[in-house]
Symmetry: C2
Subunit: 371 residues, 2 copies
């Protein structure tokens, strides 16, 4: 762990003081905002997430809002996925790429009432990107970062909790669909989404001054379900094969190298940034693939194996990829990780190796998500 | 202090292991890279900087490189300052603004050999901004983040140290001018610059694999001058009135509100982003001004007064500005700070007040830098 100096350059989420009061022990900086990563009990947090319900401050998942007459055109131009049939109340997981097809971010895009879109972004400043594109291209839209901060509830009992809070109708929401509603007068967007595969919702708080009130309301309603404060969970997300943009990807990665092939449609009619480059990558096949690694190692080693920088994955003396995360999986009873590896190596099925805390460790490659 | 979780999303500077070995205790995240902020001895670090020479890992000050046939045109289009007379070997402190005149970054811009420019950036992802502008506008340039990481030497003896390392000719370098050279075969750009007013240089390492070698070489050569490891120093920078973009500024600040009026020239002939908006702001005068505050408080209080979020500055019940940093100044023997305050209040000369650790504290407004 590293001691982080305080600074107004690094923002606080509306839920910050609630998370500190709830015992947050570690943070990361995400979109220049503090985000809790642990409450000091990794096993308990995993258990709450996979067996009951966890609540997470993901306020640092900022929104880039596009609104105005050209909003449809502009949202499509910024996304490598067909949005032509997207309707209000619907969200889609999209790739945002540059003109070389490099993946700049992997947001969930929400289409809201009043012709507004929110790109709900990972850790890169797409506000700058979108502002520049809009100004230079002359789209008739406004781009801003609205006062919106998500609070996630995740886990098998999250739906029960959401139904208690917002009504039974939330049970019928499809994945990434949402409603715009209120909770005790607090404006929130309730979306079936979140960075786990345990099911759940993100409550997009639309008034930063009500962070503590929303946190307390959710915590109180969640008591009967054993809700526990937690944070985006590395162990569960690796087991589930969810992407960490900027962690699992490199500054050169394209969406095909990030496991996002299913969400990229370069051959649609609409214009969007990176279209030609992505057509070529799709035709040629990507150079690398995002895969799972299963290590030949006792799980105890995995539990203490923190990856601070992407580590080389090798066959003999040749580097064939990079490893970005290692966790000890309760579900599999194995030490597993996520790596980006040369496609020819993945297709060969050869074993690879990585330098771990106790020397060179062999690993086998598997597709994501882990079976 | 906050515990920061490790992650490959947050990069390491080429000097990272050297700073850890030298005893770095606290870090910040700057341009998604760890940057040391303290070595555990604030008084000693201030003394080394102001009386001898300090060496700082400022590798997180990343470069956005623009190169190619349209580089001159493009660099000017991205900067709110007249670059028409800029020559190779020269640097300039520039404002980068959006089309509303909002200050996006305050880099030093270096014009290098081979028609290359480096925007040496503060903590916002101008690589995204520049890539989008270039692609949409069709400038014939390449935009990239090169493998360049600055190591700063700052303090009254920094020039002696630089002369020992690179030769006597570096003494004749004017402020922000630089040379492209080598040190024991390591390619470096040596620029008279750095985030202090104690004099000194930034050594822009151009090969990240040589970070430890460069750090060790500078440390060894600096021994006779009493060089000490340090970090961008809040106390000295506040005394000297240097801007912390993103800390002292808000997401709405324009350069006139950030103390950068002298570096903005909206009435030049060349086209650049934000020109019209800046012309209007210059004509009307900015709404707010960046000023110094001198507090009516014992210096000991200032020493423990950490500003984690911009704090309201008030006159009675009315908020008239925001305070971004407070330090206990050895030079002035006073507790001082930097604030952005409504222009009419600044012009009135009225005293203001801020909630400090021991209650409401009165402060008088002064221009920057402190006299």
């Amino acid at each position: 762990m590293i001691s982080l100096a305080v600074s107004p350059r690094i923002r606080h989420s509306p839920f910050y003081s609630s998370t500190v009061a709830a015992g947050a022990t570690d943070f990361t900086v995400y979109n220049k905002m503090l985000m809790p990563t642990s409450f000091g009990d990794p096993a308990g947090e995993y258990q709450a997430l996979t067996e009951r319900v966890a609540m997470w401050d993901v306020g640092s998942e900022r929104q880039v809002q596009i609104s105005g007459p050209d909003a449809d055109l502009c949202a499509q131009y910024l996304s490598s996925r067909d949005l032509s049939k997207m309707v209000e109340g619907q969200g889609k997981y999209v790739a945002m790429c540059d003109s070389d097809g490099v993946l700049l971010n992997d947001p969930v895009l929400l289409k809201l009432s009043g012709g507004r879109y929110w790109f709900s972004i990972a850790d890169s400043d797409m506000l700058l990107w979108c502002k520049a594109v809009v100004a230079e291209r002359g789209f008739d839209v406004k781009v801003c970062e609205p006062d919106v901060s998500p609070l996630a509830i995740q886990g098998p009992l999250a739906e029960d909790l959401a139904a208690d809070l917002f009504g039974e109708h939330v049970r019928s929401l499809k994945y990434f669909w949402f409603i715009e509603t209120q909770l005790d007068g607090i404006p929130v967007v309730v979306c079936r989404s979140g960075w786990s595969k345990q099911g759940g919702f993100e409550l997009f708080l639309q008034d930063g001054s009500c962070g503590t009130q929303l946190w307390d309301t959710v915590a109180a309603a969640g008591e009967r379900y054993g809700v526990a404060p937690g944070a985006p969970n590395q162990t569960e997300r690796v087991e589930s094969g969810l992407l960490s943009w900027g962690g699992d990807t490199t500054p050169q990665s394209n969406p095909y190298e990030a496991g996002m092939a299913a969400y990229v449609q370069p051959n649609i009619e609409a214009r969007f940034i990176g279209k030609q480059a992505l057509q070529k990558i799709e035709a040629d096949g990507p150079d690398r693939l995002l895969v799972g690694l299963v290590f030949d190692v006792a799980t105890e080693v995995g539990a203490t194996w923190m990856i601070a920088e992407r580590a080389p994955v090798c066959i003999g003396a040749d580097q064939v990829g990079t490893l970005s995360v290692v966790v000890c999986s309760p579900r599999m009873g194995r030490t597993i990780g996520v790596a980006q590896i040369d496609r020819c190596v993945v297709e060969s099925g050869d074993a690879v190796s990585v330098w771990g805390p106790a020397g060179l460790i062999a690993a086998s490659i598997t597709s994501l998500p882990f079976a």
